[in-house]
Symmetry: C2
Subunit: 283 residues, 2 copies
Amino acid sequence: MTDLPHKPLPLDGHTVFFVSDGTGITAETFGHSVLTQFDLRFKQIRLPFIDNIDKAHDACKKINEAFAEKGLRPIVFSTLVRADFAKIIRQAHGVHMDLIQTFVEPLEQELGVKSTHTVGRSHNTADTQAYRNRIEAINFSLAHDDGQSHKNLSTADVILVGVSRSGKTPTSLYLAMQFGIKAANYPLIPEDFERGKLPSALYAFKGKIFGLTIAPERLSEIRNERRPGSKYAALENCRYEVNEAEAMMKRENIRWLSSTAKSIEEISTTILQEMKTDVEINW
Amino acid sequence: MTDLPHKPLPLDGHTVFFVSDGTGITAETFGHSVLTQFDLRFKQIRLPFIDNIDKAHDACKKINEAFAEKGLRPIVFSTLVRADFAKIIRQAHGVHMDLIQTFVEPLEQELGVKSTHTVGRSHNTADTQAYRNRIEAINFSLAHDDGQSHKNLSTADVILVGVSRSGKTPTSLYLAMQFGIKAANYPLIPEDFERGKLPSALYAFKGKIFGLTIAPERLSEIRNERRPGSKYAALENCRYEVNEAEAMMKRENIRWLSSTAKSIEEISTTILQEMKTDVEINW
């Protein structure tokens, strides 16, 4: 693996808390979006499942202890649905970023209805159809990883193709886990290039195919981590495979993008946009 | 699959937009947390990658069109780092839930430094070490799914055990994808129960083992979806396996939880808490 430039950021004295009556994943995801806007590192503490008064008081105490220790107000990102729990947390000496309370009230006014203030309602709840669809999509994507199975390809939402190690597997799993998309993936291999045709199982589903490509230099790096010094990883071979795969995708009129500088989140979001899959946002 | 009670919620007339200069996943995740507090459904539109002035004006136009069509102000969840883009969006007729702008300014004051206002800085960025760790964790978890490999178990952060279909695989993948945790998983099978011992490869790593169990009734349902009418899926057999697995986990002093009513997000967060894995929150 190429070493990335690694300049450690200065450690800031403020402790950061993520407080939630659920998993805290929303608070944490959002908190990171905001904190990465500062060139600082922070000590970070998760306080999930704060779902009764005692736990709320305990969380309040922990925040105050961090304040006493550092002499700086901790930064508190919270997603607490219950106003009474949120009130207890706000009594702590902290800088409060109270996500739910900040936005629910203006929404109540606009919608003209009261919110239910029910804990555990988010997509993280196991007993909804949407959740079961996500689990089904994960199982589908795993069963259809790397061209393992041709069964039920007709029920796939997307079929990713690309050379080995172009990013198909993590993207398929992310599409399934985040969006409930059934994503199969098929490798394009030298035999396909010699035949000059896509794997034959795919022709019936051309409208669902999306291609991933990757810079040969990056591909060679990734493959060398797996099989150092192999022909498979050699730059010349990677150039050949990538050229052939791109030529095939052009010829077959397949939409594609380069995964080289993109995260699985960026690749997945782009695929959803490009495919214009009318995927219901169904949480 | 058991049919869940499915009472369709009334469709509200407000259109919901998720606007971001990145993938919009933070805006969407957060927006859903808030919207699920209302017993309403909404038409939802993603506008990711709004990263130049033209796209910002275009997004503004789309929001205004939804307003003109419905006569109700659209609800706009946005995570825009650039203040100039955020200003353009705010000119649209909408109820603006501007996540970054709302919280960055108070943070700047508290921290005494200016934010960088840099687009694409979140965990969704491919060129950070933290991102590469997540991809490495996904590859590790896939290679160590279902007891496939004993190799490199010493580098696992967590090893999940439990009967077949107790939720080990999706949990392992979620731990890897969300938290960059290397999670192996091992099935507990009838042969293990007869021997009365854990799979022998695991004894060297007992401190990392975490168990999943599940209500036999739910297990039987899940297995019947896969292999209807099989002995594998029979309630009596599920009862036997779950009893044996729980007895073994007690005997071996393994921490465990029931996945029956929990989502993979809840299971994963609980495991992190219980294991007290000093996992750096390292985005």
